[in-house]
Subunit: 221 residues, 2 copies
Amino acid sequence: MQTQTTNRTPICHYPHNRAAHAIFGAVELVGVPLSFAKEAEIYGENEPAEYVYKVLTGAVRITRVLQDGRRQIEAFYFPGDVFGLEFGAEHTSSAEAVSSATIALVKRSTLLAAATRDSSLSNQLLTHTARELEQARRHAMLLVKTAQERVASFLIEISKQLVGGSVELPMSRQDIADYLGLTIETVSRTLTQLQKTCTIEFATSRRMILRNKQALISLNS
Amino acid sequence: MQTQTTNRTPICHYPHNRAAHAIFGAVELVGVPLSFAKEAEIYGENEPAEYVYKVLTGAVRITRVLQDGRRQIEAFYFPGDVFGLEFGAEHTSSAEAVSSATIALVKRSTLLAAATRDSSLSNQLLTHTARELEQARRHAMLLVKTAQERVASFLIEISKQLVGGSVELPMSRQDIADYLGLTIETVSRTLTQLQKTCTIEFATSRRMILRNKQALISLNS
DNA sequence: CGGAATCTTGATTACCTTCAAACAGGGTGG
DNA sequence: CCACCCTGTTTGAAGGTAATCAAGATTCCG
């Protein structure tokens, strides 16, 4: 039911991630791709890291929760992206479906074993991890900026991922807030302000049109 | 001169990083270890990433600078730590000596070439990068906390790195502030407050004694 | 149509930054 | 040896930005 609901979201075509594709090309998938309903957990913090995942459709978020319940979203993943590759025995974050999603799996042990035999695969794993590292550091850079700058950076980032004149945001305002280290109110106010300056426009609260990308970039700090 | 000054800092013995050690064991060093004076640049943003570095003595910081001049410190590295391993052609951050430091170098191309032949080395590179990723994500978690929590987390982290009853902080208050995404004044005030509650004590502004580690941990959120 | 969840808006408060000045230590030169 | 300066650190007062608390608007779905 829930899956059907979110399937109404128009399927976007995403620029494919070459390295990610190659990683999954090298070893056989585990069964058929799995479907996850909106908000369903894909794996949890401290669970054994048994699989590596690739988004086929939908969107996924990686989160950590602090002792006091504050939630931090570390990254969003979109079709073509690989996630969940960890090198400790257990996941250090949890993963959930932002919208309903289909996800392909490979066994981590199979992948790592194949990598010891295939130096090109091993190199791809390295490249993938390095790219995640770069992304995490850029995310950290975000978190020391002002609310306006954070929101602007997020919108630029997300509009790169999602092709087209208007952008369907798969995540809620709360998700955006948790990704940017802000409250939902501040995110909402900032978006409203950007609308007033005709930088962006919302057809619905989830469908955004970029009116002045240059203005966003200059806000980006 | 500058080097001599900072050499008076007592040399601490650090828990050695096994993976890092192995990475450097696999290929030959480039010449002799280099000495860097306090504040000297080791490499700059956008410079070609030609070498991989290992701290022998002293401390190093990795920084990025925003357009408006704000500086963000992404990480500190201490003796035994390997840094500067990047997979793009150019460095995405710059590295500087926090205190005077001696640093061993290997050629990146040599290391990566060796990794294609030696799957164990390749695996170590992967482990190293994954560890940096985990560290970057933990750093991002820091940046959404309150000033007290950030400072407490930093002090706990640094006291793990540096063994002994009292901890010699190699970095300035400004460095701490830039690492935590705070101002120098806020860092100073927070440290003063922690002193007043007898959680920590400063013999000098750089030499800290932990009086109540448990209190710090509970502040850590 | 009605109820629930999500999002937006408003008023107030709290925390951190900014601006400014005082303080402390370390080195230099008289 | 002391006066002086330079740098790094601490402290104080005022201001701004985002959080919190609270209510209203909108959208989504049965």
